[in-house]
């Protein structure tokens, strides 16, 4: 008996002594992450300051400090202008020692940052922009796309609506890179499923009044009006459609990129019944709920959406890769490591990063609840289907990415 005690004690000592040796200390240089976002405009609530919070939470949860990693996060406002975004990116990389640019809602800005990041051999972890070109024709060894993209949105929503009989479509398209990509990807799905595209109208970004365009959509007699826009443009289109009795007259609205913050802004009485695809939802398990609670406390009570979750997950995975390399490494090398390691964190769950830079994970086809079905704050979605990771995103061979052999 005494012997057993001694052995156990010795074992305990060994275990304690072994901990520091096991948890290796990071010995590479300090890291600097830049959240380049729309901090004050129409996309500020779905990304913006919330993305900075998400990045900080990820650093905390990874236990960076305990592992000896010094990680700093800074934020920048690109004002939805590609030239402004590009000059901030250059300054960050050239002068401020930023290693990674995060978030970047607005595909026009993201495509500019994509090029600069490759040129400087740094890292671009995109969650904010939607254009699937970032992992398609414009893919680089330095960019990874998290959370969602236009192909995934189009595929989930387009398929579901055509199956329900919505086989003719008219698009209200935001007049820039993102809108074009979303319209193109959705049209492809609709046509593949046997539907037809009746027409489209290109609407300038940040339009207040959509009634004119909605009347054109109505005149087209298409069964589905596809909203290839985002943020404030989407909420204004949905409000206008309700007001002009378009949905009541039988045409169905397809919000192609709807964020939970848009639903919150519209209110359930207007948004109810809207069906769309989302890359993440806060109320799916205990971990996501806990994250949402922490996040909302720091974010004026507003809950996180897919983009915030994407920023969190991408930062977490980035730190994991840097920690594994444990030395100074250039952008492409770190990204290569990130593609080797499977992604896993408490917010986004498990996933992988493909060779084209697409991070894949299961996504949800959701319907907005009726006001009486919503039991707690931000209780907005009914999950209709969970689309598995390998079906949710564009097949590797179809993207036209040069990294795919």
């Amino acid at each position: 008996m005494k012997k057993l005690y001694q052995t156990m004690l010795a074992g305990a000592f060994l275990a304690v002594a072994a901990v520091p040796a096991y948890a290796q200390q990071y010995s590479g240089p300090p890291l600097k992450l830049g959240v380049l976002s729309d901090m004050s405009g129409l996309y500020a609530d779905l990304s913006g300051p919330g993305s900075v919070i998400a990045a900080k939470l990820a650093i905390e949860d990874f236990g960076a400090a305990a592992k000896g990693m010094k990680v700093e996060v800074i934020g920048g406002d690109h004002q939805n202008k590609a030239d402004v975004g590009a000059s901030i990116a250059r300054q960050w990389y050239d002068q401020d020692g930023v290693d990674v640019i995060l978030d970047v809602p607005n595909s026009a800005v993201a495509l500019a940052v994509n090029d600069i990041t490759k040129e400087k051999n740094k890292i671009f972890l995109n969650s904010g922009a939607a254009s699937s070109d970032l992992t398609g024709s414009k893919c680089t060894p330095n960019t990874i796309h998290w959370a969602y993209d236009t192909w995934m949105l189009a595929n989930g929503t387009g398929k579901a609506l055509v199956k329900q009989g919505g086989d003719t479509w008219f698009f209200l398209t935001a007049d820039y890179a993102f809108g074009y990509a979303l319209e193109r990807d959705t049209s492809a799905v609709v046509q593949k499923e046997g539907g037809k595209v009746a027409g489209s109208v290109r609407v300038p970004l940040n339009t207040q009044d959509f009634s004119s365009f909605l009347l054109q959509a109505q005149a087209s007699k298409a069964k589905v009006i596809g909203l290839a826009n985002a943020g404030g443009d989407t909420t204004n289109s949905i409000k206008g459609a309700a007001e002009f009795g378009i949905t009541k007259a039988g045409q169905k609205l397809a919000g192609l990129l709807v964020d939970i913050n848009d639903v919150h802004a519209l209110g359930l009485p207007v948004a109810q019944g809207l069906t769309f695809t989302d890359g993440w939802y806060w109320d799916t398990n205990d971990d996501t709920r806990k994250f949402a609670e922490r996040f909302s406390k720091l974010n004026n009570g507003k809950y996180p959406g897919k983009i915030h979750a994407g920023v969190y997950s991408s930062v977490y995975h980035y730190l994991k890769a840097v920690y594994a390399i444990n030395a100074k490494a250039d952008g492409a090398t770190v990204v290569k490591k990130m593609k080797e390691l499977p992604t896993e964190d408490s917010v986004m769950g498990k996933g992988t990063v493909r060779v084209d830079g697409r991070q894949i994970h299961p996504v949800y086809l959701v319907e907005v609840k009726k006001p009486e079905e919503s039991k707690k704050p931000w209780d907005y979605y009914k999950i209709l289907t969970t689309i598995p990771a390998d079906e949710a995103f564009r097949p590797l061979k179809d993207g036209g990415c040069s990294l795919v052999n």
């Binding site: 405009g41 996309y43 404030g232």
Partner: protein, 295 residues
């Protein structure tokens, strides 16, 4: 059905009507700007922010105090107008004898501060405000479905615009105002309190913005950005109409709404820029604007 440039006349009528509705907002906002510029010589860059505050006051009245749309239509302009009076007394009064540029910079700074405060507290994506139950639904006009609320917007804004124009051109108070603009010292000598009149005029101009804000609340999101989205267009309207011209701002407001509406049909990509193109052309041909008195 008759077709005009490949578009059915029915669709065209619908678009014209929608243009008119948007024009109603331009007209009300540019009217306030014109009144303020005409009487006070101030280029009021925080007009958009005050329009936004008008909408937010309506939202707060409903959600915090349970006061509905109709009362808000009265109370919000009073509260916002009072805020305008405070701004005039605290800041603008001190700039009266200085160059225009100072007033412009000050009001621009104020607009940024006001917007920032609201964005910080309410976020950028805005808040919902429901159409009052009396005005939900709509009428089928044959060529389009006209929501009742939009019809109400046209009627009320026409009423407000023409009322203001009439008050300034044809009443005794209006004549005092016009006289005070021409020669404040002389009017003061007749025993009229010019300083107070100017303050109240500013308050009134701000109240006009607030009415537009309350009218806009149910149609658009009540959002901190709603003012900066519209203010630049409204300035273009004022410049096209002729700085300070009351009738000019009303007519160009509605007119440009229609021009913009037509652009949305024929070349939608340009709909956010067409007003500035018109402005450039007007300034080339008539530098003082369509209804300006000439420099």
């Amino acid at each position: 059905m008759i077709e005009i440039f490949g578009i059915s006349s029915q669709a065209l009528f619908g678009q014209l009507l929608i243009g008119l509705i948007n024009g109603a907002f331009y007209a009300m906002l540019s009217l306030g700007l014109a009144v303020i510029f005409g009487m006070l010589n101030i280029i009021n860059f925080c007009h958009g922010a005050l329009y936004m505050i008008g909408a937010f006051v309506a939202w707060m009245l409903l959600n915090w105090l349970g006061i509905g749309y109709w009362w808000a239509l009265l109370i919000s302009p009073i509260i916002t107008g009072a805020l305008g009076v405070v701004i005039e007394r605290l800041f603008l009064q001190r700039l009266r004898d200085l160059d225009h540029l100072y007033g412009l910079l000050l009001t621009f700074g104020l607009a940024l501060i006001l917007e920032g405060v609201f964005r910080q507290n309410f976020g950028a994506s805005g808040l919902p405000y429901r159409i009052p139950p009396e005005l939900t639904g709509g009428t089928n006009l044959g060529f389009m479905f006209l929501p009742n609320y939009r019809a109400w917007v046209i009627v009320l804004s026409l009423f407000v615009c023409l009322g203001t124009w009439f008050a300034i051109e044809y009443t005794r108070l209006g004549s005092y105002l016009r006289a005070a603009t021409e020669n404040p010292a002389l009017v003061q000598a007749f025993g009229v309190n010019v300083s107070r009149m100017i303050t109240l005029t500013y308050g009134f101009g701000v109240a006009l913005a607030a009415i537009a804000g309350v009218l806009a609340a149910p149609i658009y999101q009540v959002s901190p950005l709603m003012g900066s989205n519209i203010i630049i267009v409204v300035f273009a309207v004022v410049v096209i109409g002729g700085m300070g011209s009351i009738l000019g701002s009303i007519v160009t407001g509605f007119g440009l709404g229609i021009a913009e509406g037509l652009t949305k049909v024929f070349y939608p990509e340009a709909s956010s820029t067409v007003i500035f193109v018109i402005m450039a052309i007007v300034l080339l041909i008539r530098p003082s604007g369509l209804f300006g008195k000439g420099a």
